[in-house]
């Protein structure tokens, strides 16, 4: 019927009466790279929390490939094909880059297969390929603790891809990066977008311009303020008022 990968209907999340998300509606096609922007506290991270099952909706529902995600635990949602990158890079610091990826690439994540199983040669090849994609060949056997901030960001994105998810959720992948690293991460996301649906949350306008090929959604106070191409959104007076703060230079 539809090729909507994600549909969100009348979603409300309240924390002790405070509505972090307020009657939010959202939908996105398979294969799209969607960028979500919004001021601090707009509810962007909470939005991802609901999709991934970390937070349960107070009202409304989330459909992934047409299936309601209500009450499904996080690991099952992940196995259904949603991968998530956190706002601060969260990799396993006491494992090497390769071990980090291998853990995620494991095809059967139940207890006993993990205990008795070995990494298959396909998995090993996948991991080796991924290490190349994220540009960490030279540091593959280094503890993740020793990586720089940007390298950790890339490693975590690599870990998402290792799950071979259909939908990637990345929360502020460019936060705290140098310009060069930002460009690296942007290029990485764009190349991933060829084969995955992606939701990227971002603050950095430079970065948003780099990666926003499709639609941009603006969140404000827990609801969608507006949606459209980057140029439209940038020139929308409401957006300028709540978020960009000042009119664009041109």
């Amino acid at each position: 019927m539809t090729n909507k990968i994600l549909e969100i209907e009348n979603l409300t999340v309240s924390f002790d009466g405070f509505k972090a998300l307020n009657n939010l509606n959202f939908s996105m096609n398979a294969g799209e790279l969607r960028v979500i922007i919004g001021p601090n506290g707009a509810g962007k991270t909470t939005f991802l929390d609901v999709i991934t099952g970390k937070v349960q909706p107070t009202k409304g529902r989330v459909l992934f490939k047409g299936k309601n995600l209500k009450k499904i635990p996080e690991h099952k949602i992940t196995r259904m094909g949603i991968g998530r990158k956190f706002q601060t890079p969260r990799v396993y610091l006491n494992l090497t880059v390769r071990e980090n990826l291998d853990l995620v690439a494991n095809r059967n994540k139940n207890v006993f297969p993990t205990l008795f199983g070995y990494s298959s040669s396909t998995e090993k090849r996948n991991v080796a390929g991924l290490i190349e994609t994220i540009g960490l060949d030279a540091k593959a056997d280094l503890l993740a603790d020793l990586l720089s901030h940007g390298e950790k960001q890339r490693l975590e994105i690599g870990m998402l891809v290792a799950q071979s998810p259909d939908l990637l959720l990345v929360d502020e992948p460019a936060a705290g990066l140098t310009d060069e690293e930002t460009a690296n991460v942007g290029a990485l996301l764009l190349s991933l977008a060829e084969r995955h649906s992606i939701i990227a949350i971002e603050h950095d306008m430079e970065f948003v311009r780099q990666i926003a090929q499709d639609k941009v959604t603006v969140l404000h106070q827990g609801s969608v303020l507006c949606e459209g191409k980057m140029e439209q959104v940038q020139n929308d007076p409401r957006v300028i008022e709540v978020y960009l703060g000042e009119p664009p230079e041109e």
């Binding site: 690991h75 990799v91 990494s119």
Partner: protein, 389 residues
């Protein structure tokens, strides 16, 4: 491509050599323990040392659950005691048919309680002393982990469980002789007195064998993907969920294994002590187990063994000469380790001393690290955030 392959082969060879060296060391130490010590040590010293070795086994179990998986159990006395009681009940039943273990008559019990029956069987007892503690640990773990209880709350719950068991065992005179516990020294096994030198030496050698086997088992468990997952759970459980794993099953399994190991340790300890009483489930003893692992070095396995032996040998030495100072010494030792050597003796050796030694011997260049990593503000901020969570 070619050079990469060569590097791969070289690495493999180096790894194999390392494993061979390690296997050699383990065999050598095991042989010294099993053959030389029984010759040179007087019987009562050997018996004491055997008890210490039994304690190193429970320390391995603690290291699995705490050092690798990050769950601080303060209730391992339960599993230790269950193993000890299982073997003691079997030994108590080595009496002419129709008779009851002596203590029952004191309380006017003239029929063997039903749950004693299966302990007539030696094979059943052997299975029970592993499986019962394992199942109890697994059940407790399941209830706790399913509800996502972790950190301090987990520790408090294990301690509470320990108190429940302690009080229950103390109160059951008619079933297991309550506070007085079960004496094994005067019982017989395979028609030999349990306290005789031959039997005790056999128990000692069995303890060495079990220690080696359980050590190897723990090594296997922690070295592959499974072990890496345990470390991942310890470091960032939420991330593990979002990698598609359900941590609950893994934690339950490790806790059950850890409990089963404690059961084996408890049985070996009991037969070399001569008695088991509920006092083994006192809070202080379960905390002491944690101290051994902390002193030796969490998450190193070998550290658990070294820590236990060191603390216990120091205790024997000090309390023989200066009986009053031991408790102070133990407290001071723990404080020193926590503040000065947070990774324990083995951790310190690995992180620092070993490199120094290698450097002094000219085996290795001094390590070049990335100083900018330590200074990068983004990294510091992120570390803070991670530790806060």
């Amino acid at each position: 491509m070619d050079s990469e392959l060569n590097i791969g082969i070289y690495k493999k060879k180096k790894q194999q050599r390392k494993q061979l060296i390690e296997a050699g060391i383990i065999i050598a130490i095991a042989l010294i323990f099993a053959i030389i010590l029984p010759i040179v040590l007087p019987a009562f010293r050997l018996r004491l040392f055997g008890r210490f070795l039994a304690l190193t086994i429970v320390a391995l179990g603690i290291d699995l659950i705490w050092g690798y998986t990050g769950l601080l159990s303060l209730g391992h006395g339960i599993f230790f005691a269950l193993g000890g009681y299982a073997i003691a009940m079997h030994l108590k039943l080595q009496i002419p048919e129709g008779q009851l273990p002596d203590f029952f008559t004191l309380y006017g019990v003239n029929k063997l309680p039903w749950f004693w029956q299966p302990f007539y069987s030696f094979p059943f007892t052997l299975v029970a002393l592993v499986v019962i503690p394992g199942i109890v640990a697994g059940l407790l773990g399941y209830l706790v982990f399913r509800n996502r209880i972790k950190g301090v709350y987990f520790s408090i719950l294990t301690q509470a469980a320990l108190l429940v068991f302690f009080n229950f065992f103390n109160g059951q005179q008619k079933l297991i002789n309550g506070t007085n516990g079960l004496k094994t020294d005067t019982e017989r096994i395979f028609d030999l007195l349990v306290s005789s030198a031959t039997v005790q030496r056999t128990f000692y050698i069995l303890t060495v064998i079990f220690l080696v086997l359980i050590y190897l088992f723990c090594r296997w468990l922690t070295s592959g993907r499974f072990g890496r997952l345990l470390i991942a759970i310890r470091d960032d459980e939420t991330r593990v969920r979002f990698s598609g794993y359900d941590p609950t099953g893994f934690k339950v399994l490790v806790f059950a294994i850890s409990g089963a190991i404690a059961g084996i340790a408890g049985a070996l300890y009991t037969v070399q002590t001569g008695i088991i009483t509920p006092a083994i489930m006192q809070v202080a003893f379960s905390i002491e187990m944690v101290i051994w692992v902390a002193v030796g070095g969490r998450g190193t396995l070998i550290g658990a063994i070294i820590g236990t032996l060191l603390v216990r040998l120091a205790q024997t030495f000090l309390s023989e000469r200066f009986p009053q100072v031991w408790l102070f010494f133990q407290g001071a030792l723990f404080l020193t380790v926590v503040t000065v050597l947070p990774n324990g003796i083995v951790g310190w050796f690995k992180d620092y001393a070993w490199q120094k030694v290698q450097f002094l011997l000219g085996l290795r260049q001094p390590l070049v690290t990335y100083p900018q990593i330590e200074e990068d503000p983004a990294i510091q901020r992120e570390r803070e955030q991670l530790t806060r969570e």
